[in-house]
């Protein structure tokens, strides 16, 4: 197009346009990587199944052993990995943007501690083995904890500043973990049941979990992604953000809501998976810079890729048994994270 531009020369526009194009291309590549990771997650395991047979098993469920493995075990597990990873990645990015702290973690809002406490109560006092009861207990615990953290953090005149929320979250997390430990010590069987939940795993959850928590995660994701521009404005400081017309209180409340819904449902579905919400947004910012319109969707896509990769790795290294996903993410992620921090390219916020 050769529309004449009448105003000041926009000679740098091609560079910016190229950068935007590059970032959009990166998103496509990430989406491709996610599809590849999903395929690998369906095919690789204690028993490897060639991709062709995977597709067969999905399209023509003939009741064969391989079709059953794919349908009943790997499909739920893979889908869970996608939604849990995406939720944690986005929640982490929102948390770091809201607190303007590059090392903030969604669990800091007390969500993980509250979920764990609720689950340990269910294991100890309700005689149930249904995983859905755990899921809803964890979700309720996460939401309850978040409300409590918000109430404590906003008490007093200064209101709910990010710093106060994180402090309240850290304090209540400590309270919850003390209570959780207390309940566990009462009864060895509770301890046994709880420690599997506690490491975080994608295995042995059924499709119903994804179906029930999926809508919450979707709502949280939409809400979170819509906050990109107000978060960008607030990143310039409270005064500058308000002068641009942002309401910090509203942005923070909506952001916290999105984080709690995302992180709460992820924790309810897979147990606490640390680290992903901390490291992924950090990596993403070193790739695409501080613009939340890119950071949020990149985190949303990169986190499930890494989570599925960790889950697959956990299945492969200890064949025929497996290593819990939560362990692998920390084990593999930590060295990478340290390397990135040391390289010094990763920006703060």
């Amino acid at each position: 197009m050769s529309t004449p531009v009448r105003e000041a020369p926009v000679r740098k526009e091609p560079v910016r346009a190229a950068a935007a194009l590059g970032r959009a291309g990166g998103l496509l590549i990430l989406a491709g990587a996610l599809v590849a990771a999903m395929a690998a997650s369906l095919a690789i395991g204690a028993e490897n199944i060639p991709l062709g047979r995977v597709v067969d098993g999905l399209l023509h469920p003939d009741g064969s052993r391989e079709a059953l493995i794919v349908q009943d075990l790997r499909v739920p597990r893979t889908l869970l990995g996608v939604v849990v990873g995406a939720s944690l990645g986005l929640a982490g990015a929102l948390m770091q943007a809201l607190t303007r702290n590059p090392l903030a973690e969604p669990g800091l809002l007390g969500v993980n501690g509250g979920a764990a406490f609720a689950v340990v109560l269910v294991i100890a006092f309700l005689d149930t083995r249904t995983s859905l009861v755990y899921v809803w207990a964890a979700f309720a615990g996460a939401a309850g904890a978040a409300v409590l953290v918000y109430a404590v953090g906003s008490y007093g005149r200064a209101g709910a500043t990010p710093g106060r929320l994180v402090l309240a979250g850290a304090a209540l997390n400590a309270v919850f973990s003390a209570l959780t430990a207390g309940v566990m010590l009462l009864d060895p069987r509770t301890f046994d049941g709880f420690r599997f939940w506690q490491v975080g795993s994608l295995a042995s959850r059924d499709l119903e979990v994804v179906a029930q928590l999926g809508p919450f995660m979707l709502a949280g994701a939409v809400l979170g992604l819509l906050l990109a521009r107000p978060l960008n404005a607030l990143a310039l400081g409270e005064d500058a953000g308000r002068a641009l017309g942002v309401s910090p209180a509203r942005t923070r409340a909506l952001g916290a809501l999105a984080i709690v819904v995302l992180c709460g449902s992820a924790t309810a579905a897979a147990g606490p998976i640390w680290f992903l919400g901390l490291a992924v947004p950090f990596m993403v910012r070193s790739l695409v810079g501080p613009d939340q319109r890119w950071v949020l969707p990149y985190s949303l896509l990169l986190a499930p890729v890494l989570l599925l990769a960790a889950d697959i790795a956990g299945r492969v290294v200890a064949r025929p048994g497996e290593l819990e996903t939560g362990i692998v993410t920390a084990f593999v992620g930590a060295p990478v994270f340290i390397w990135m921090v040391r390289r010094g390219k990763a920006p703060k916020q």
């Binding site: 000041a8 526009e13 107000p230 310039l236 400081g237 005064d239 002068a243 017309g245």
Partner: protein
Amino acid sequence: MNRLVARDLTLAYEQRVVAEGLGVEVPDGSFTVIVGPNGCGKSTLLRALARLLKPREGAVFLDGEPILGQPAKQVARRVGLLPQQPVTPDGITVADLVARGRYPYQRLLRQWSREDERAVAAAMEAVGVTELADRVVDELSGGQRQRVWLALVLAQETPIMLLDEPTTFLDIAHQIEVLDLCSRLHEEGRTLVAVLHDLNHACRYATHLIAMRGGEIVAQGRPSDIVTAELVERVFGLPCRIIDCPETGTPLVVPADRRKALTAGML
């Protein structure tokens, strides 16, 4: 009636009352500069004018309506602010930072338009940072960075710009550079309100000077009409002489040399 007016303001942080019964009119088309000693309430007044501080009593009016009753984005299209210590996101480029000034014009379904592109390019051109568009802001000098921030406020395209100590962290050359730039923006038709520390700079650039002390306005008007040795003594407690600036003809404050008196007293 002027567009930005404050009436009967009582301004306070928590328990500490900074000002009571304060009234201010910002003359349309003026380059208004607020001066006064530390803690006199000048920055607090600017924050109230910028809608950042809710007055305990009284109100700030923009275009005749209480500013706090108006939608935030509507206000942000008419009044821009350069805060004292804005936060530069790490790794952000000049163009991306300036582009964030377009926030009040964007909506869910209208994210980025040719109009935004034009405003950003014009703002960078106006402060002379077009060449730096793709540079990372952290790597720029203090003076360049302040010009970039001014470009952000310019991209907001507001007829009224508020500047909270825009020269505080700059060396003398960059202070003059930024103030010259502000002066040009004023001549192009904008209303500017700045808080400045340096009284000589205030006299040199202001068309309307407001001198504050203890939360009250001691004097206001053209610098050459109101700045006298007596006023400076009253506002800052500084004995001085006022001479005409050989360069601009505006009042120039020359502090009295009290060392002689001190030495004499010690003998």
